[in-house]
Symmetry: C2
Amino acid sequence: MSKLAVRPEEDGQVEAVVREIAQAARDASYHMGLADGAARDAALRSAAAAIRQKATDILAENAKDMAFAAKKGLNAAMQDRLLLTPDRIEAMAQGLEQVAALPDPVGRTLAEWERPNGMKIARVSVPLGVIGIIYESRPNVTADAGSLCLKSGNAAILRGGSESLHSSTIIVECLQAGLKAAGLPVKAVQAIPTRDRAAVGAMLRMADLIDIIVPRGGKSLIERVMAESRIPVIAHLEGNCHVYVHEKADPEMARKVVLNAKMRRTGVCGAAESLLVDRKVAAAQIPGIVDALAAAGCEVRGDEAARSVDPRVVPATDEDWDTEYLDAIISLKVVDGLAAAIDHVNRHGSHHTDAIVTDDQDAADRFLTRVDSAIVLHNASTQFADGGEFGMGAEIGISTGKLHARGPVGAEQLTSFKYVVRGSGQTRP
Amino acid sequence: MSKLAVRPEEDGQVEAVVREIAQAARDASYHMGLADGAARDAALRSAAAAIRQKATDILAENAKDMAFAAKKGLNAAMQDRLLLTPDRIEAMAQGLEQVAALPDPVGRTLAEWERPNGMKIARVSVPLGVIGIIYESRPNVTADAGSLCLKSGNAAILRGGSESLHSSTIIVECLQAGLKAAGLPVKAVQAIPTRDRAAVGAMLRMADLIDIIVPRGGKSLIERVMAESRIPVIAHLEGNCHVYVHEKADPEMARKVVLNAKMRRTGVCGAAESLLVDRKVAAAQIPGIVDALAAAGCEVRGDEAARSVDPRVVPATDEDWDTEYLDAIISLKVVDGLAAAIDHVNRHGSHHTDAIVTDDQDAADRFLTRVDSAIVLHNASTQFADGGEFGMGAEIGISTGKLHARGPVGAEQLTSFKYVVRGSGQTRP
């Protein structure tokens, strides 16, 4: 931990520290890419054991972070995210074991074919290389993100929020203990050992050593990373998710899906933020849905048409259509049919997750085809936007970009591929 | 063509022109993404007909470009690439028809599964959106790259070299005629109507309207694009490709494969630039291979060990191991076994295409697994590094990056995907 002494003004030194880490990660990544899946899984299981064994030490390190955070005046929600408890530590250990149990994403034959000249071509999955993860002061992300990188044969450079430095450091030590036990290079997981924010900038410039950056956190963090990075970024900026209640929607299903999409958990990116109701059924559908939302403590902000149907709806401004509340608030707009709903979603949404409720298969198909989002659902809650719910195991986030990974980013999405060609002396005419 | 009047110093105006084009491309991309594959194919066939019909006009426009290029003092090789002939125009038309005949890359179900709660999830291919192509003064690239973008349901913004402005413009008009005939938006293919280089910078900044940039050309062009772009880039910087002659290589096959890999065409990115020969067979293999290369007019630059075996080998410097000659020159290094060969390729190669010649299956498997390149071959020529030779139809280039596309980039690689979820009222517990 001696490098913790690096001071903010010594940017050159921060750069050198980060470069040394990145170079070690690059070297480790070659070994990881060639290791057996069984060895990578053994490392994850050993890491889980180390976390359980070191639970008392982890709590002690976390207490240092909590004291620092309290002194710094971190708000209660952020302190809660930083806090580790015996239950949360056990959950981290179990998470590592779950990732170990996933199928190996490396070395899969994605496609294979033979050419008329007899050459056999296979497309085979390989690790990406070195992944930089930049996140907030959430110690559990250290274990989650680190484990997905290792599972997929990559090396990880972890940069958590400054308040979680001690907690993250000891969790990384547990991951490294797992690597060591499995005979893998310990530098395949490293934490940045300084609170200096210059370290983030240094990471984002190291395109020669880091293959991809995954920011995980709030909008300002992700915007900074996307603006500064010279390295490709997998990120989602926000989830302004919609539920559209079509004219042929079953009222009971509409109420149930909207309530779940909005209120199951309001702080997740798959939470619905905007409700669209077809004008033809506005009077029939809105009161029942507002009943359910109001009973759950949700504020509904609607346009004139919605308010004329239900006086509990408070006025919305134009800004509401573009707002991700992450809170018990939903915007409500009455729309003139399917095309208008699709247009509204594509214009105001964030290309994350959007749902239609309808008994009309044709309308559903049009919505699913025409809404330009990573995840589109028919008659199901937007809260299913989650790698685990998709059956993909753990996820590192949900990408709203269209390149490489879109939607839930799990271990499989942290791989690339190569073409393996087997011949018998073929030359090209 | 009135916008040709834009002058270099009026950067603000160039920016506005490019933004107008990019916005029109974005609008057109929504329509393209929803169009039937049959309509997109019809557009490509109509464009081929338009190119044949306008052949005389195309030759006339090309003559203007050739005159400009001659006045500018462009070298002979570049003038040859710029030149169109009746044969080359017919080849462009046939290229469009070949792309039309490829399978539709859009709307494919890439995977589908059902969850225990009854939700059906499908991963379905969709277009990327708006693709910016930046290339040199090669009019045929206008047709090739434009057609792959249209095939994959994208909108294309084409920025060819300034000397090809008139040729590119009329070829784009033919593509637009095809789009119009098929009832598709003509703005799905547009050329940047100015020679001003500021237009390239403007494109590279328009991350809100352009989804991906594909540079096609020499190293300096691609380096500039990669350094400046705020938009993800699919590119390959160079192809420093290797052939490794293993100790168990059949001499006849080794000679044949090396000769083809180097000399079939020296100017392509899949041409071999470096030959590695195992020390154990250096004396046995090198003279025969040098015989073949020398007879074909190839200079061989080797290390001490190679020169001691064959006096026709001239001295190599350290720089040679990292050089892509694109010419009738090859570097030759004697290596101590398989591991040293793999290490040399990973250190000095460009992660493009590398081959091993051997009768030892284990050695081949190790090479194929451990060499970190987009394409790895056993007993076949590196000149097969080509989308057409892979059976993927036309290609827009070969990517040496690991994100999104790696290896040949054809129509399929110009797509993304979305998750389509069909439920019956499921909510998340």
